[in-house]
């Protein structure tokens, strides 16, 4: 079976062929080289033996990409089989422009809102302060523009990625 794997930052995906040899054992061919992979899911990681080398590999999903941690290096890879890639190509890509939502970078508390609705702001100007673990983080405006919405009142507890302020 053929997969396409595009490493984040690379221009083009790599073609990778995979064949299952037995439960948990695979032959994987990349750039003309055939590798034997034995993969066993373990608590905390997947134990992989790749051509006899032992790795604890950890995976974390980020949208289309999966972040792969091997020996202290994280690589983000968009990997899918050919059929799925065609499906995905059908869905139009779009970019958010104009309206920008500033989100909480971590769970914590919105300790201070530094702007008012209608206020003109400059790129890099402080908009609000979120505190977690006794660290205050000033959220800055991503662009020159105007504050159009304050979505969360000062003093609230906020979740990771909570929408806080809209700048247009």
């Amino acid at each position: 079976m053929r997969y396409l794997a595009k490493v984040s930052g690379d221009d083009a995906p790599k073609h990778v062929d995979i064949e299952m040899l037995a439960e948990g054992r695979y032959a994987v061919t990349l750039d003309g080289h055939r590798h034997e992979v034995d993969a066993l899911p373990l608590p905390g990681a997947v134990g992989m033996l790749i051509d006899g080398e032992s790795f604890s590999v950890e995976f974390e999903e980020h949208g289309d990409e999966v972040a792969v941690l091997v020996r202290n290096q994280v690589t983000r890879i968009d990997v899918a089989d050919e059929r799925r890639l065609r499906l995905r190509a059908g869905a139009a890509q779009f970019k958010v422009e104009g309206r920008q939502v500033v989100c909480a970078p971590m769970p914590g508390k919105l300790v201070k809102v530094l702007v008012k609705v209608g206020e003109e702001v400059k790129e890099g100007q402080g908009l609000a302060v979120v505190e977690a673990m006794k660290m205050e983080n000033e959220l800055k405006s991503p662009k020159n523009g105007k504050v159009v919405e304050l979505l969360v009142p000062e003093g609230s507890a906020v979740e990771n990625n909570a929408r806080l302020i809209v700048v247009e």
Partner: protein
């Protein structure tokens, strides 16, 4: 002062556990206090008794003196160990303990008065002839005056909390336009950390080393030092890696600094464990920075090379015993500590509270873990991001670095982001390996510490990702064919890191 039977530990996290461990070894009962956010915290499980002292914010719980004293009374504790941070350097709390008939395990209020307020300490030291870093003698009353004084001595300057240390309420300010935001941040952090928002200004010394001397004093007039700790590996004035001996200290410099530290402690009638912090400049001149009138986070490295249990001796001194280690203790071997933080170095050290799905702590020879968490525990967002301190010992510095690398490579924490890979990168950084690194080291090396990708590991990651995705696709296909298999999670989906919310 007599035999202590039950100690209330007015703290949380790893240091509460640390103190309770020694109590247990001494046959002393322990009482935990906890905020509503900490009901499931490890220190509550570790203690013999535990009392809730209020809601999550520290000011309403871990800094609420009356509630802590009430818990002490209810539990029948006869002494209080403050740990570090929170009330540990609060002289009014010491007085309140005295009044309530409780032994405060730490220096007398008078010594804390003299040393606890950083500006007063500076005046004291100047009188005692100890060199100090140039700066204001008093807390700065207003933002305007801060701007004026800063312009006078010239940037960069340091804004520092008068009420406590540990990097809290501290900001380096590069230019006039940054004073406002630094002032706001420092004061607010100082308030939430120490219940005191006074800040003062010091000249920022260029590329200094942060070297501190551990002192110990008893109630019989003995004051000794237990050598130094090198703490220059800091990011945002927060120590990250500490070691002893300091690779830059000569025996002469060690003796001179030790002597000054003992003099400083003696001049304020110090009792118990304390730390005198110095900056050492490129000419190896040293300046008094401040005295931390409590147990230091990084005390394990001193314990490794001296064989002493500092908490043990804090308690014995509080019971009135004389310290037996009066001769200079010559350190044995080398020790390094690395602080494990729940934070993401690649995103500006953003805190990463959350649930710990899996944890494996390193073990084997001469590795020590002082942790405050357990598998399944949710690290709350209200407190310090340090989840553990990993320390190692070896006969030489080179071996200690190798051991620390080995131990860090075994440390697995899943569910939250930690700085473990960043710590590994520090151990490999040429400046660190060479041993002459100043407080600017981590800032300068930031990009290098985040690491350049190794092409071989990238290739392995590609292979692994394809196997992973293939397994997922197979599992999905199986589920579509047999909808009732839904209940059984597939082989793959059970374990890999859950997607970030």
């Amino acid at each position: 002062m007599g035999k202590i039977r039950k100690i209330l530990v007015a703290n949380r996290g790893e240091i509460a556990i640390r103190v309770m461990r020694t109590c247990k070894e001494l046959g002393i009962s322990t009482v935990a206090v906890f905020s509503e956010a900490d009901r499931s915290a490890l220190h509550v499980r570790q203690a013999d008794q535990a009392y809730c002292v209020g809601p999550a914010p520290s000011r309403e719980s871990y800094l609420a003196q009356d509630r802590i004293l009430e818990a002490a009374k209810k539990s029948g504790a006869d002494a209080i160990h403050p740990g570090y941070g929170f009330l540990s350097e609060n002289a009014s709390f010491v007085r309140a303990c005295d009044k309530a008939g409780l032994t405060f395990i730490g220096p007398p209020a008078s010594a804390m008065d003299a040393m606890g307020e950083k500006t007063r300490a500076r005046s004291h030291m100047i009188k005692a002839g100890v060199p100090v870093v140039p700066g204001t003698a008093e807390p700065i009353p207003s933002l305007e005056e801060a701007r004026a004084y800063a312009e006078k001595i010239g940037f960069p300057i340091m804004l520092k909390a008068a009420g406590g240390g540990g990097g809290k309420g501290m900001r380096r300010v590069e230019s006039l336009q940054d004073v406002d935001s630094a002032w706001r941040g420092a004061k607010s952090e100082a308030m939430s950390s120490f219940g005191n928002d006074a800040v003062y200004i010091e000249k920022y010394l260029d590329q200094p080393h942060h070297v501190e001397i551990q002192v110990f004093a008893d109630t019989h007039g003995h004051v000794v030092h237990l050598n130094e700790r090198e703490c220059s590996a800091q990011r945002r004035h927060q120590k990250v890696v500490e070691e002893t001996p300091s690779p830059i200290l000569t025996p002469e410099l060690r003796a001179a600094m030790g002597e000054v530290a003992v003099k400083a402690a003696r001049s304020v009638g110090y009792v118990g464990a304390g730390t005198v912090e110095f900056l050492v400049d490129v000419h190896r001149h040293f300046y008094f920075l401040e005295m931390n009138t409590r147990l230091q986070v990084e005390h394990p490295v001193t314990e490794w090379v001296t064989g002493l249990d500092l908490v043990h001796w804090q308690i014995k001194v509080a019971e009135g015993e004389p310290i037996p280690f009066l001769d200079p203790v010559s350190p044995r071997g080398h020790s390094i500590e690395a602080r494990i933080y729940a934070e993401d170095p690649s995103r500006g050290f953003l805190p990463s509270p959350g649930k710990i799905d899996f944890i494996r702590v390193p073990g084997g020879p001469n590795v020590r873990d002082d942790g405050g968490v357990y598998p399944g525990y949710t690290v709350p967002s209200h407190y310090d991001p340090m989840i553990s301190k990993l320390s190692v010992w070896a006969p030489t510095r080179r071996e200690a670095i190798a051991r620390m690398k080995r131990a860090l490579s075994e440390y697995m924490v899943k569910g939250i982001t930690t700085n473990i890979r960043y710590l590994l990168a520090i151990m490999d950084a040429p400046e660190f390996v060479q041993g002459d690194y100043d407080t600017g080291f981590l800032g300068r090396s930031h990009q290098a510490l985040l690491g350049a990708p190794d092409p071989r590991l990238r290739e392995l990651a590609v292979l692994a990702s394809v196997v992973y995705r293939h397994q997922q696709d197979r599992a999905r296909a199986t589920r579509l064919q047999a909808p009732r298999a839904n209940a059984t999670p597939s082989r793959w989906r059970r374990f890999p890191g859950r997607p970030r919310p």
